[in-house]
Symmetry: C2
Subunit: 227 residues, 2 copies
Amino acid sequence: MPGKKTYSIPALKRLPAYLRELRRLRGEGVARVSSPILARALRIDTISARKDLEMVGVTGSPGVGYSVEQLIDGIETFLGWKNASEAFLVGTGDFGRALLGYPGFAAHGLKIIAAFDRTPPPGEETIHDIPVFELSEFRHLAERLNIRLAILCVPEEEAQQTAEYLVDCGILAIWNFTEHTLHLPEHIIRQRVNLGGDLAVLSVKLAERLDELDNDPDVPTASKGKP
Amino acid sequence: MPGKKTYSIPALKRLPAYLRELRRLRGEGVARVSSPILARALRIDTISARKDLEMVGVTGSPGVGYSVEQLIDGIETFLGWKNASEAFLVGTGDFGRALLGYPGFAAHGLKIIAAFDRTPPPGEETIHDIPVFELSEFRHLAERLNIRLAILCVPEEEAQQTAEYLVDCGILAIWNFTEHTLHLPEHIIRQRVNLGGDLAVLSVKLAERLDELDNDPDVPTASKGKP
């Protein structure tokens, strides 16, 4: 691992979309790509795309663009995705189960190697081929396998207590799929899937849009918003 | 609906967390709350919390703080969550199924009233009590029920084509759970759940943290990162 990286969070969040597009191009036999083409695929402006790739440390040549292969390699190295990160998942309800079967994680350098639940589903030793254990076995397995990343999918009301237990077992980073804002020591890395927040943005933008349609005399009634 | 709202996206995304905390306080019989207390619950600074609540249009009184009831009402009104938004979900794979059973949406003013799939699961007329139809029925049901919001959970390779069909059926806003960057007319509202992006942030931060631990002579070997 080289020295401290400089990065911006929005740029980091875009890197998997570059990877996806670059892998698609490679699959089509494309060897070189320009920043405007990548920018268009990601629906961002060209200057941002250039900055993102500069962050990764790959430079293009004027007139010829970037090597697709070098960019893929550069992004995977930057993200540390050359070797998959191993993670444990906690909570095998509907959401946890969906994540255990999610085919996209391999492409994102993530390998879920075991799942845990306070009460594992009876008669199921594996879900989507991933072994399921009682939560009480988390500690010794995390220590033995040196797992630092956990995916938290437990019910809301168990989130805080479970997260504290995971940290106590040596977990350093938690991907939180619950709505609960976790209160944990500062050095613990947290990433939250904020479905409520997404819905808030959608609701407000959609209301605005319906309002515009209602006030636009050129829009035929049939395609207007709710009365 | 009043005139155009001014809002910031990060503030919008925090509103559901305020609601959650405020409803919890109300449940405990608390009538008033101060901005520092809300800020701490959300792990943000007090100035940001005050600005967020100002955006919603509710003002506190010096020394007494905010009325919990008024804040709940103000946020719900701001988000248009007093009346639940109705949505259709498309794609009943593992992820779609998990969302159909997700208990949190009601609290976020979302009601999924039907699900669709190119090939609905045989023998299942409902999933988690929500009726499932063939995708070909989307158009007339969307028109009849005046649905404007769709949740997209189809496989990656079907995402673009399905989204175009939904827009053609009158959908104005798409909550995109696929990894695909949708290319649609500008006026279509899109919100994407970027799991790959979250993982990118987690990977880079975790690698940094492990690096720090490896280089810290005070950390005992047992709690260090991978060799």
